[in-house]
């Protein structure tokens, strides 16, 4: 049987509808710990994240002061196990004479995702709304996706996590991703459960600087924690937005605005929090985008 485009779309729509029906059960569960302000997404919405949505994130590096509120909010919202940071704030410097800056790195939700390609069991897949989802109840723990991801956006539960379904009594819901299994891979998923409720992802809502914007590319609007809603295309064009490791062709859905005239202090010359102390002996050979600890920039 040949599957025409039309019949394929019909089936896909049917499956999406079926998935939507299954949603209310999970919707009733809320995260227990509070996370930052609930800023509503701008546009009225017909239903759960459907094919018409194409989520994007914009990170204004000029506004990021490296406070790591985003990481904390994310960790609280998802009960991220220790050792992992689903949105990690890097101290970056492109080369020795250029500006040092902070770089929050969520999952890039690539449109050409290397992790999805290599997963042997479809435990990670690309949704129609652009999100690269992760089903840790299916993951076999081969870690090939971690090896494939060029952004180090994926983490592994090497030991038994504190919040397992057994201990918390909560069933596993991939859209909330608040309970975890040992021996599986996890990552940032743009908080689809919050999006469905019309809220911003936890990290975006928590950013005190309004440096993170989140929105729908189809709608051409992104919003930050300050409630500012701006046109996505105008923002990215006017401020020369770029994507991380563009040369790899992963087509990320996270855009960065260059740290031009930064409004907040750059990273200190030392790396105070870099706990991988022993590790540094092994990695000083990474010349790229690594802060030169000897001559950090002060302005």
């Amino acid at each position: 049987m040949r599957i025409s485009r039309r019949s394929f779309l019909k089936v896909a729509a049917g499956m999406a509808a079926a998935a939507a029906v299954g949603v209310p059960a999970s919707r009733t569960r809320r995260p227990r710990e509070g996370f930052a302000a609930e800023v509503p997404l701008p546009a009225p919405r017909a239903g759960p994240a459907g094919p018409s949505r194409r989520w994007v994130m914009v990170v204004d590096l000029a506004k990021c002061d490296g406070c790591r509120e985003c990481t904390r909010a994310c960790t609280a919202m998802h009960r991220v196990p220790p050792g992992q940071e689903w949105i990690r704030v890097y101290e970056m410097r492109d080369e020795s004479t250029s500006l040092a800056y902070w770089l929050p790195r969520p999952c890039m939700q690539c449109d050409n995702p290397p992790c999805v390609k290599v997963c042997p069991v479809s435990a990670t897949w690309k949704r129609e709304d652009g999100i690269v989802m992760q089903d840790t109840s299916r993951c076999i723990g081969c870690r090939y996706c971690i090896a494939a991801c060029p952004y180090q956006a994926r983490g592994f539960n090497w030991v038994e996590p504190a919040a397992t379904p057994e201990r918390t009594g909560e069933p596993y819901d991939p859209e909330w991703n608040r309970v975890h299994f040992r021996g599986t891979t996890e990552k940032c998923i743009f908080c689809p459960a919050l999006i469905k409720e019309g809220k911003l992802p936890a990290c975006v809502a928590a950013c005190p600087m309004g440096a993170l914007y989140f929105g729908d590319r189809e709608e051409d609007a992104v919003t930050n924690s300050q409630g500012e809603t701006v046109r996505f295309s105008a923002l990215v064009i006017e401020q020369a937005g770029y994507r991380l490791l563009e040369e790899l062709g992963t087509e990320p859905r996270v855009y960065y605005l260059p740290p031009r005239k930064p409004q907040y202090p750059a990273p200190p010359p030392e790396e105070p929090e870099s706990a991988g102390g022993a590790g540094r002996a092994v990695v000083p050979t990474v010349p790229r985008k690594r802060i030169d600890t000897a001559g950090g920039v002060r302005r």
């Binding site: 290599v118 042997p120 069991v121 060029p150 180090q152 994926r154 299994f181 991988g276 092994v282 990474v286």
Partner: protein, 523 residues
């Protein structure tokens, strides 16, 4: 147990070849017992890992694969040559292959079993293994591996088994002194073989067809193992020649393993008449050719990125060439490729024995010098740190060229010794090849993971380094012991030298004797 009670008995030749089945002294039991203990210890380590999770290993989010995956690539590589070499030699009608094909194919069998287990050991959720069947995605290189390794395991097992049927029938008919379970096993496995011309014709046809089919399967296996790495974007793995590079490395290490096995069986079961010096010479030629091919691929693989020094590759190459992995890397290149090639070639030069006319080029002075060096540079500083404190650091006194000069001296002094013992030279070379091969697999897996695109930052203590734990080393040792156990067990159950194949074609046998391939006593 005597085999002489029943009437159709083994001929003297058959008894010699079946020595592995019947012989078994205290030494054998001690060896098997020791290997069993190591294997069980590996199981204990795996039980620990199952209980506490992969956290008991040195693996973390940056170095997410380590020793297990290095073992996987190593064992699959060693498995590579058995069936492949045997198939090629069969198809090209190389008569000298006859006594060694089965021991080569049995290496494939044992090593594939252990290699195939390694990804399971590495899995975070082995309990979800069946997800590979329920939700398997053919787009993932892991599925390619699952398919190709299981196909190769099935194919090479059949390729090992089918040519063994006449020998099993022989055991069924004549191994009257053997225990009953063994005879039942041989009766079952010999599938009613009566050695009729029709059966022979069919068997030869099957073996020839299988020899053709097994070659592409064997090549595919190590190609897709390399593509696990080659299909990622990471510096050091993102390479178009990884398929042929891995295949050449696999053939090299596999041929070396066959040479080691040949020497071990020849020594343990006194097969000098069947496995002759000429076999080692020919396997040596094969090893030289494969080593040159592998060396060429290695050179091409490292020179092309090293010439350009692109941003992504720079850190990884620096770590390997001159950074924390430099010692290991240059060891694998010099001791794992160059030295074996020299050991296989130079001792064969005719004037080598004349080297001993120079008094300094005899083993004793060279050994004495090496011992002095070892005492001065290692033992003394370790024994009395006060010497070092007093500024008497001997390591600083000794110029750096002394070590390579010593190595050359030792090599020259032992050349005439190796000239007189070509089999020793081949075995030493083979062992070096396999040690180098394992280390090189480690160097393919780990340095790349320590040099990702984004800098390693905010890693908890110990997460940005890789230090394999006792669990990983125990499981590795257990896997090696398991490999040897399967291999020895195979040789205890089945004739390791094909009896009917070495008996057939008497006209070519005389030619073989003249060539020195088969000893006179074997005819």
């Amino acid at each position: 147990m005597s085999t002489r009670q029943a009437t159709p008995r083994f001929s003297e030749r058959e008894e010699r070849l079946l020595a592995s089945l019947t012989a078994g002294g205290a030494g054998t039991y001690a060896l098997i017992g020791g290997l069993l203990a190591v294997f069980l210890w590996g199981l204990v380590a795996y039980a620990t890992q199952l209980r506490h999770g992969l956290g008991v290993t040195g693996l973390r989010d940056h170095v997410l694969w380590g020793v297990y995956i290095a073992n996987f690539v190593f064992f699959i590589g060693v498995s590579h040559v058995g069936a492949l070499m045997s198939a090629i030699l069969r198809l090209t009608g190389a008569e000298w292959r006859r006594p060694i094909t089965r021991m080569a194919e049995a290496i494939t069998f044992a090593s594939l079993l252990m290699g195939g287990l390694m990804p399971l050991v590495d899995m975070g959720r082995p309990d979800r293994l069946l997800n590979l069947v329920r939700y398997g995605r053919l787009q993932s290189p892991i599925l390619w591996d699952v398919l190709s390794i299981t196909t190769y395991l099935t194919g090479s097992t059949l390729f090992l088994y089918v040519p063994m049927i006449p020998d099993l029938a022989l055991l069924r008919d004549r191994y009257a002194g053997g225990p009953a379970w063994r005879r039942r096993l041989y009766t079952l496995l010999s599938l009613g073989w009566q050695d009729t011309p029709a059966q022979r014709h069919r068997l030869e046809l099957i073996v020839r067809v299988m020899a053709v089919i097994i070659i592409p399967i064997a090549v595919s296996v190590h190609t897709v193992v390399s593509w696990i790495f080659g299909m990622t974007l990471r510096a050091g793995w993102n390479s178009t020649i990884f398929g042929p590079y891995f295949v050449s490395g696999a053939l090299f290490s596999g041929a070396a393993a066959v040479i080691t096995a040949m020497a071990a069986f020849r020594w343990a079961y006194r097969l000098e008449d069947y496995i002759t010096e000429a076999h080692f010479r020919r396997m040596g030629y094969l090893l030289i050719a494969l080593g040159l091919a592998y060396g060429y691929f290695t050179f091409a693989e490292y020179l092309t990125p090293a010439y350009k020094m692109a941003t992504a590759e720079r850190g990884y190459l620096a770590a390997v060439f001159s950074g924390p992995f430099a010692r290991l890397f240059w060891f694998t290149q010099l001791t794992g490729i160059l030295l074996p090639l020299l050991l296989l070639t130079l001792p064969r030069i005719a004037w080598v024995p004349r080297l001993h006319r120079v008094p300094l080029l005899r083993p004793r002075p060279a050994l004495a010098a090496a011992a002095t060096y070892a005492v001065a540079s290692v033992v003394l500083p370790a024994a009395s740190p006060s010497l070092t404190m007093a500024g008497l650091n001997l390591n600083e006194w000794i110029p750096p060229w002394v070590l390579p000069a010593l190595a050359v001296w030792l090599f020259l002094a032992f050349l005439p010794v190796l000239h007189a013992r070509p089999i020793t030279a081949a075995v030493v070379a083979s062992l070096l090849v396999n040690v180098g091969a394992w280390l090189k697999r480690y160097l393919i897996v780990v340095p790349t993971l320590l040099n990702p695109f984004l800098p390693i930052q905010r890693a908890p203590a110990g997460w940005a380094v890789y230090q394999p734990t006792w669990v990983e080393w125990s499981i590795t040792a257990g896997a090696l012991a398991g490999f040897l156990l399967i291999y020895i067990g195979f040789s205890k159950l089945f004739p390791i030298v094909p009896i009917w194949e070495t008996r057939e074609a008497p006209e070519s046998r005389e030619a073989a004797v003249q060539e020195g391939i088969v000893g006179v006593a074997a005819v």
